[in-house]
Amino acid sequence: MRGRSDARDGVPIPLCAEDAVANSSQAMEPSEEVLKDLHLRMVRIRHFEEEAGKLMEQGKSPGALHLYIGEEAVASGVMVHLSDQDQITSTHRGHGHLVAKGGEFKKMYAELYGRETGYNKGRGGSMHISNVDAGMLGANGIVAAGPPIAVGAAFSNKYLARMEGRDSMNVAVPFFGDGATNEGAFHEAANMAAIWKLPVVFVCENNGYGEFTPQAEHQAISDVADRAAGYGMPGVICDGMDAIAVWEAAGEAIERARSGGGPTLVECKTYRFVDHVGLRGIGLHYRTDEELEEWRARDPIPQHEQRMVEMGVMTAEEIQAVHDAVMADITESIEFAENSPLPDPANLLNDVYTPTAAS
């Protein structure tokens, strides 16, 4: 049905989330509203990233961008379940997470341009883009830095729910890659979340590569979800190229976390369509054209659109209108960013510390 074979090794992916659904009395079926929501989030990410990549390679925006193109189903499928009170931590490939969590293009492009109007007032850029007000605790330049921070946020969520006498907790979701699970910080965070039954859903975006090194060379397992057993938490695998599959798996895990059932490790098998950095990349040949084509054939966006058309949820014209509206927003937002003021060098030292009455 929904892209169930792993193109990397041809072995069918056991969809534990689906197994759980099959075993439950009522299967989760996305409403039309959810299908459209998933689509919009994915389209916003795709176009945002394609334009951002061009701006970098045209020399218009400074620094380096790690683009999320190809992995849109993961951020979108998870974020549909989260409110602004739920937190996420992101990675160096973080634009997609912020877009999916409701990030405004104007503030995002302005940040990539290093402008005062950006989310981080030009102090963070691509690798630290954040929106704390909406629970986005930052992209992060350090691999696996997010999970311990998400555990801290989840600790807050549990602590505050207890103080306020609430049964339902806000949830923290760290996103990280297959490579990050080789870092000690990931291990410490997963263990702490498990022993304290914190409302955390660990979402691994397994795109098959730790930077340029294939997964088979950087870890002796092919399913990152296997690691969950070592922490005494459920580990599930889903097709990260299928927004509905992610939505199902994440939904169940998030609901369990929210109601006090503790953390889950959700592994999403996905793929990065562009290079580690930028659109064109840096010319290293570490992936074959055949592999790229196999995964591109499973592009989560056309796949989702085809399904919606078949289900009668949207027409091709309506889908095109979504793309057009997103592109119009992007054009306007890039113009906003380019016309925004640069930070005043006189304010270089602002915000190193929180001011206090005494200082």
Partner: protein
């Protein structure tokens, strides 16, 4: 108010002053919690948190796994989302396990986010040699922290200052490292019963004098004071300054003193090369050069790991005699 100015009254040893500081910080702030390795059930390996679990319960006084990265990450995430974490890194040497969380996350999150995050985090940790615990449980690594924008660092060396430093840190909306001195655990001092704070970035002038300014921090303030006693008998009047806050540093108090005494000696237990004393000496050279009668002197640990054998450790750690000898050399009286 310095320890010397505190009203005469109740005496507490350094360890119990720590306990009282944390207790009162937890009492006054329901969003504050304490977490660390063996801080709850055991009350810490140093006994400094005994009784807190009973008073505040396991939701607020929490034993963590032996996971320093996880502990600081917990503090960053909880601090950024509304709580006031007080976390313990048992031995300062263990910050090597969590330097990413300290340097790249805790210290930088606010700045990187354009001022849109607040990190009201207190980190308590025990530093210093003197207990024959060898190279991985005896270091004074405060310079690592002071070199990181975004952190505040206080190194209290009296019972009064350690309680005040903890409460100050707990009320502060920025990350503060309270670097405690394990060699002072049994040191008694006057400690008021009520909560009180220390002015951030304000040095203590422990002793006034005319001929030489000794700037010492941590456990070395006591050796510097002993040295001043020795030198007094030789007709040398020494002013002893404890910066107390190493970040931010009270440059004004140091420069004003050197402008008066015309001589300066910087003392710490940490390794001399690249230590905080190098920064203090550089600032004196920059800002008080014209007042100096001699180059700024430094007494600190040699460039070596902390040795185990008592005879070696005693040689390694600076003491009053070495401070006095360096003072005589600077003043040309030795």
């Amino acid at each position: 108010m310095t320890a010397a100015e505190a009203p005469a009254g109740r005496q507490l040893v350094y360890t119990l002053a720590i306990t009282e500081g944390v207790r009162q910080a937890l009492q006054e702030e329901p969003l504050a919690f304490m977490a660390g390795e063996d801080v709850a059930g055991a009350g810490s390996v140093f006994g400094i948190y005994r009784g807190l679990l009973d008073e505040f319960g396991p939701d607020r006084v929490i034993d963590t796994p032996i996971s320093e990265s996880g502990i600081i990450g917990l503090a960053v995430g909880a601090g950024a989302t509304g709580l006031k974490p007080i976390v313990d890194i048992m031995f300062m040497d263990f910050i090597g396990e969590c330097m990413d969380e300290i340097v790249n996350q805790l210290a930088k999150m606010r700045y990187m986010f354009g001022g849109k995050a607040t990190l009201p985090v207190t980190v308590l940790t025990m530093s210093g040699a003197g207990m024959n615990l060898a190279a991985q449980h005896s270091q004074s690594l405060e310079a690592w922290l002071c070199h990181t924008p975004g952190l505040k660092v206080v190194m209290p060396a009296t019972a009064y200052d350690v309680k005040g430093a903890i409460i100050t840190a707990a009320r502060e909306p920025n990350p503060v490292f309270v670097v405690m001195c394990k060699g002072l655990m049994a040191l008694p001092g006057e400690v008021p019963e009520e909560p009180y704070t220390l002015p951030i970035g304000k040095a203590n002038v422990l002793r006034e004098g005319d001929n030489l300014t000794v700037v010492a921090h941590g456990r070395m303030i006591h050796e510097a004071t002993k040295a001043a006693d020795i030198l007094e008998g030789e007709g040398i009047s020494v002013e002893v300054i404890d910066p107390l806050w190493l970040q931010p540093l009270d440059t004004d108090t140091i420069i004003n003193s050197v402008s008066k005494t015309h001589n300066a000696l910087v003392v710490h237990e940490a390794v001399r090369f690249g230590g905080v004393g190098a920064e203090i000496a550089a600032q004196i050279a920059e800002l008080a050069f014209d007042y100096l009668d001699a180059p700024v002197g430094r007494v600190a640990a040699p460039f070596s790991p902390v040795p185990f054998s008592p005879v070696l450790e005693q040689t390694y750690v600076p003491n009053a005699e070495r401070i006095a000898a360096e003072a005589r050399r600077i003043l040309g009286t030795g």
